[in-house]
Amino acid sequence: MDARVSAKIQDVFEEPACEHNQNKSAKEKKKGCTKQLSPGAAAGGCAFDGAKIALQPIVDVAHLVHGPIACEGNSWDNRNSSSSSSSLYRTGFTTDINELDVVYGGEKRLFKSVREIIEKYDPPAVFVYQTCVTALIGDDIEAVCKKASEKFGKPVIPVNSPGFVGPKNLGNKLGAEALLDYVIGTEEPEFVTPYDINIIGEYNLSGELWQVKPLLDALGVRILSCISGDGRYKEVAYSHRAKAAMMVCSKSMINIARKMEERYDIPFFEGSFYGIGDMSETLREIARLLVEKGAPEELKARTEALIAVEEKRAFDRIAAYRPRLEGKKVLLITGGVKSWSVVAALQEAGLEIVGTSVKKSTKEDKEKIKELMGQDAHMIDDMTPREMYAMLKDAKADIMLSGGRSQFIALKAKMPWLDINQERHHAYAGYEGMVDLVREIDKALYNPIWEQVRRPAPWDVVAA
């Protein structure tokens, strides 16, 4: 493998701020966070997928995939990351290499592609994504990007995260490394304020950032740069001037948060927009860090005042659903921190969590779940589709909340299901989002179709 990618991967694996990592022996650390995949029984995206997910929400950049048609042709424009301005990020650019390129190398085609994009679309920057085939044949995308940058006078950024180096999560971090190496710190903002923050690892899926931004606006806190949801190239480039940063729960970009703290003295905390308590805690942490970095002390009091009003407003609205949702059983299948951050809101609405997945959760996450759900919390490490189906079919749960992948397991068992992953069309962030989530659960549970689809056809009813 390319020595540079290999060094980057080791670097990412040794991430000191990652709790997963802290609990490992030196030998385990070296092996890194890529669990050995089991052929014939694996699911999930590759490292290229991960890098693209992490960076594509930068909306004004041309994202060019260097590889055969599969990598872009089978996958483009498939996420719900929203933009408030440019839609260039939704344009699919790929070198679509052919057999001759595989034999003679694809570097020339790549260089020409960058030129065509700059001539036709004039973006502030081009991001070039490496893929398996072009990595295997030895195309040097760093060199091509360097030459293209010089020639066209525009940033052309190599993102070296070919699919076969590991899973999606590793790709998130390799994508982040590209920003650290080539983008962050290369431009300056017009002005700075004591209230400037970065939000790291938020992708603005279904426009969720906009459920949170009004809260920050009201407090006078400015999102200097969101990495990467609804982001602009220059915002990322001058993000090093923020006073503080929030790292959004999933840890997908923990390396950006920690290295920006190291390099630019930007303190960060790990927070979540999901769940009422979490949203409030996030606002408090933002205020605390900004005050620590010199913002006026009164920010804290204003934050508390806003939290009090907004929490009450949200809980009042959720409580209205309580009589209808009390005692309904929820199976929650999702990754990492989201598990416990959603649990509290569901409990507020009277829902009972009969099981939650902890496949991607840390030790700390699991402790929090126990705290919330009691010692006998039903934590599911790795549930096969067949087991999920059985659990729903046997009515051990009334509704499943999960990602799109397991949607049909629920629906084919004729059980209500709600999408809470990346491809969803509803936004569930902040106070507003939790109210919406509870409303959606109510809507799903009480839809009249359930009774109809479960009723057997008259001719299938055995005469008594």
Binding site: P39, N74, T94, F164, E423
Partner: protein, 478 residues
């Protein structure tokens, strides 16, 4: 007749094309109790899986050999072995169907050789599960090629001569055909007393039915027995030019004669199909099709007012493109832009001047330049249609932003009827309402009527100085 040209661009913008291994695995999904698998990195499978889930709104069985860079360089024998054994243990399918990818083809894995080793080593453990392999590098061809190659690979692996059954007919659907299309073809054959043996048959697996139990493999489709008895048919009907090779292979191996129908959309095209079935079965065309035909004629008469003369821009894989474009031309519409993904013998017969092997950016630019009034392509055309300000009619795969992909019907009299009505209604809904300012007079006429000289002055344009009649004449000549 059309000239076929390839795009000269280095960079593909907004791909129309999808990759070969995905087309191959999609074909494998039309086999019962099958587990399709891509031999590549897990992303290859993940992207394809998500695409098909979004299209069908169904669980999609698709596995991966989960290659990483070390296993790629050392060769994928171990990964394929583990994958096959894992799948056998967890799902025990009748068939494990493997398609290679760009990654493993670049390395040059000898998968056929690996499979021989694996069968020898684990013969007993794998009893009851067949394995088939097709070579489909991502950097060659397109989705439709992958579909065709997969069907050919299945025939090569399983078709054998066997005792002829007089009412049996093999049907090889085109890659674009939906479960509804396949059902329509099967029912048509049944109306002639013929039994259709459909390869591949996604109408059994991806039609959205609700099974009684959870199964991780395909939920229906052609059974292994159907594959092994392809040789029992009296004829093979190939429903798209891409199926030429597969149909010929059945004839070569089993002596079953074949006929290729390049399309089943359009009046004349389905007339030919029914005439052929009538000849094959020795039965007259059933009354229900005679009735459906006059209904189609009526719709053609009603719709030609709205469809005739309309400018259409179409982007689709060759077999689908051909059926749509021919039907459009037969309704008097003009195909002003035609873009496709991969070479095919049908392209030269397209009813337009040029067919471009290109992408959706090409289609958008050509549609704009030619003033197309409707954009016809898969769901990825949505951004282009929005920019062009014209309606998008979704045809083909993927169709991720609308429901009911499995139930779209485009073949036969009924399918043609639905398609033409969709076109007509789209134009009806978009109908221009005339305004007082729609027919402005040219400046010269206005000047002439005002009694003044020619607008350009000096009489250099040659028009008379004041006579209105001569002004009109020169306008007409211009």
């Amino acid at each position: 007749m059309a000239k076929v040209v390839e795009s000269k661009k280095a960079c593909t913008v907004n791909p129309l094309k999808m990759s070969q291994p995905l087309g191959a695995c999609y074909a494998f999904m039309g086999l019962d109790n099958c587990m399709p698998m891509m031999h590549g990195s897990q992303g290859c499978t993940s992207f394809g899986l998500v695409l098909l889930v979004r299209h069908f709104k169904e669980a999609i069985p698709l596995q991966t050999t989960a290659m990483n860079e070390v296993s790629t360089i050392l060769g994928g024998l171990e990964n394929i072995e583990q994958a096959v054994l894992n799948i056998k243990k967890r799902a025990s399918p009748s068939l494990i169907a493997i398609a290679s990818t760009g990654l493993t083809e670049t390395k040059g894995d000898d998968v056929d050789g690996y499979l021989n080793l694996i069968r020898r080593k684990h013969g007993e453990a794998l009893e009851g599960t067949e394995i088939v392999y097709v070579s489909t590098p991502d950097y060659v061809g397109a989705f439709e090629d992958g579909w065709g190659k997969a069907v050919l690979a299945l025939i090569d692996a399983f078709a054998q001569p066997c005792a002829r059954e007089d009412d049996r007919v093999n049907v090889l659907p085109a890659a674009w055909m939906t479960p509804a299309d396949i059902d329509e073809v099967r029912e048509t054959l049944e109306a002639f007393g013929l039994r259709a043996n459909v390869l591949p048959d996604i109408s059994g697996s991806l039609d959205g039915h609700i099974p009684d139990n959870f199964t991780p493999t395909t939920l229906g489709g052609m059974k292994m027995d159907g594959l092994r008895t392809l040789g029992a048919a009296r004829a093979t009907l190939a429903l798209g030019a891409r199926m030429d090779a597969a149909a010929a292979a059945i004839e070569e191996r089993c002596g079953v004669p074949y006929k290729v129908f390049d399309r089943l959309t359009g009046l004349a095209a389905f007339d030919d199909f029914l005439a052929h079935l009538s000849q094959l079965s020795g039965r007259p065309v059933p009354a229900k099709y005679r009735r459906a035909r006059t209904q189609l004629l009526d719709v053609m008469l009603d719709a030609h007012f709205w469809v005739g003369g309309k400018k259409m821009a179409i982007g689709a894989e060759p077999d689908l493109l051909y059926g749509l474009a021919m039907t459009a031309a037969e309704m008097g519409a003009e195909v002003v832009a035609a873009v496709t993904t991969t070479p095919s013998r049908v392209l030269e017969g397209m009813p337009c001047d040029e067919v471009l092997i290109g992408d959706l950016e090409d289609l958008e630019l050509r549609a704009k330049a030619a003033g197309a009034q409707v954009l016809i392509t898969h769901a990825h055309g949505r951004q282009a249609a929005q920019r062009l300000g014209i309606p998008l009619l979704r045809e083909g795969l993927p169709m991720f932003d609308r429901l009911g992909a499995a139930h779209v019907l485009r073949v036969g009299y009924r399918g043609t009827r639905e398609l033409i009505l969709l076109w007509a209604n789209t134009f009806l809904a978009d109908e221009h309402v005339n305004t007082p300012n729609d027919w402005p007079l040219p400046e010269a006429s206005v000047q002439a009527a005002a009694g003044g000289g020619c607008a350009s002055g000096g009489g250099s344009c040659g028009c008379g100085s004041s006579a209105p009649a001569s002004g009109t004449e020169s306008e007409m000549a211009g």
